[in-house]
């Protein structure tokens, strides 16, 4: 399970979605929706109605070094929007923030 879910995403937007039974998690890019659903259900003992995922491209970064300008990208991230069965909640107050 911990190989699938990285952390819950706690932001203003995520908190708002939480009011409607939707939660946002950062997951490993290799994880698929089925694995994510199973992991969430096992981890929080809830019923997942739907899983929507999206890949966030890494940002391109540039820095000046002695050897010239180095260009690169930050790592790719995958987010999963989970919708729970009505009336179920997850206490999402831990984990780092940032979308």
């Amino acid at each position: 399970m911990l190989d699938i879910i990285k952390r819950p995403i706690i932001t203003e937007k995520a908190m708002k979605l939480g009011e409607n039974g939707q939660y946002v998690f950062e997951v490993y890019p290799e994880a698929n929706k089925i694995q994510i659903k199973k992991a969430i259900e096992d981890l929080f003992e809830v019923n997942v109605v739907s899983v929507r995922t999206l890949n966030v491209k890494g940002k391109s970064k540039m820095r000046m070094t002695k050897r010239g300008i180095m260009k690169g990208r930050t790592a790719l991230k995958k987010k999963a929007y989970i919708t729970l069965k009505q009336g179920q909640t997850i206490e999402l107050v831990t984990g780092a923030a940032g979308e």
């Binding site: 995403i9 706690i10 932001t11 203003e12 995520a14 908190m15 107050v93 923030a97 940032g98 979308e99």
Partner: protein, 433 residues
């Protein structure tokens, strides 16, 4: 307000206060709301962080903050109601959040409540000394020495000579340690610090004279050789000299002697006053037994140590002095000083002794000559040290007024009358009386 004294030891007290759960919740929620307004977390706009996130992230410190605020308010009203004067900042030593009310234990040191004993009618010795002709002669001789000139001389004929000597130290077997540039010691033979044996050895000797000398204090043998002699030429007590010493006020020897007599008598008088003040302090300290706050004593001891360090540095250059090593010595003196201050303040309060305009005028007008009365008063009242100096003086006068005063000499032997030995018709005697 509910409170319970948990422990009381000297001036150290631990009190347990109850904080109602309702008040606590109100305060805690207010603290969260306040934190929400300025919390800046990534993912949230400023002021938009939900309360549960704030509670989760900063809950512990906000909880403590809320309890501390409530405890502070309760403690403040406790000190006002119970008339507790704090000697140091109080500290929360325990919080029990289980149950309603929440209990908070606060430890603090407070000023003692001094119960004054009857300080009116103390038996105080007033030392008295009548200045004699010998003391006046001695004082005049010192003035002459201070104003003397020196001239080179061949032979020492009396004590009014300064001698420069080469000093050679000797080995244990008596042989002299040779030195290409031996240290030079200069002595004034009239100086009472000079070993009388050296004075005797030097009398009637000339430049080049060598002699052996044993310093008994150091238990060391020396060979000394006279290198130079200079004679002190004392000024005659002429009207010009007397005028120069008295800023043209006096010119006859008898007037000069009277003035010296007066100033010496004044010094003895000041010594007597100081001795009486010390007796007052000692007796009052002996009469009153109460605990003093350790924190205050420690502060006073530290400032005493700093003063001592400064003085030592002035005389002996840099010295390695450690407070911890000398703490015990300073703590004894500091305890007495702090205790005395509490007694002094209690008497001042009880007897309603205050600084009056005439006290300021009497004491300071001569020092602050250029100022008018209102300015002088402002200077004194704005300066706590000056004000306390005046109050202390008034306090001593007050206690001594009520005391049973016995005239004694400076060795403590009783005198029959305070004015014994004073000639009624001399102006000096009038001043003393």
């Amino acid at each position: 307000m509910e409170y319970k004294i948990v422990s009381e030891e000297g001036c150290l007290r631990t009190v347990e206060f109850g904080v109602s759960l309702e008040d606590y919740n109100k305060e805690f929620n207010a603290a969260i709301k306040q934190a929400q307004a300025y919390a800046n977390l990534p993912g949230f706009r400023k002021g938009k962080v939900p309360a549960n996130i704030i509670k989760q992230r900063f809950g512990d410190s906000l909880e403590l903050e809320a309890i501390e605020k409530l405890a502070n308010d309760i403690f403040k009203s406790y000190t006002t109601d119970e008339n507790v004067k704090l000697a140091e900042q109080p500290s929360i030593i325990d919080i029990n959040k289980d149950g309603d009310p929440i209990t908070v234990k606060i430890r603090f040191e407070m000023f003692p409540n001094v119960e004054l004993k009857n300080f009116k009618g103390l038996l105080i010795d007033e030392p008295y000394h009548q200045v004699n002709e010998e003391e006046i002669d001695h004082s005049i001789l010192h003035i002459q020495i201070d104003n003397s000139t020196q001239e080179e001389a061949e032979e020492i004929t009396d004590e009014f000579f300064a001698v420069e000597m080469e000093v050679f130290q000797k080995n244990e077997d008596g042989s002299v340690i040779d030195h290409p540039n031996p240290p030079i010691d200069r002595v004034f033979l009239h100086d009472h610090h000079v070993d009388p044996e050296i004075v005797t050895l030097l009398m009637n000797q000339k430049v080049g004279y060598e002699f052996d000398y044993t310093n008994k204090d150091q238990n060391k043998d020396f060979k000394l050789k006279i290198k130079a002699i200079s004679k002190y030429i004392l000024p005659e007590l002429t009207p010009e000299f007397i005028k120069s010493q008295t800023e043209d006020r006096l010119e006859s020897v008898s007037e000069f002697r009277d003035e010296i007599n007066f100033s010496l008598q004044e010094k003895w008088h000041q010594n007597a006053e100081e001795a009486m003040r010390n007796q007052v302090i000692d007796k009052l300290l002996e009469m009153h037994d109460f605990p003093v706050p350790t924190s205050t004593v420690l502060n006073v001891a530290q400032s005493m140590f700093e003063d001592y360090k400064k003085r030592m540095k002035q005389y002996y250059g840099s010295m390695k002095l450690n407070f911890e090593e000398m703490k015990d010595k300073f703590m004894v003196d500091a305890t007495q000083a702090v205790k005395w201050e509490f007694i002094r303040d209690a008497i001042l309060e009880q007897e309603k002794i205050e600084v009056e305009d005439y006290d300021i005028e009497n004491q300071f007008s001569q020092f602050l000559g250029g100022m008018d009365a209102a300015q002088i008063k402002k200077v004194v009242m704005d300066n706590p040290n000056l004000k306390m100096q005046l109050l202390s003086q008034k306090l001593f006068e007050y206690i001594i007024d009520f005391a049973e005063v016995r005239s004694v000499d400076f060795n403590g032997n009783p005198l029959e009358t305070p004015s014994m030995g004073i000639e009624e018709d001399t102006p000096v005697a009038e001043e003393v009386k």
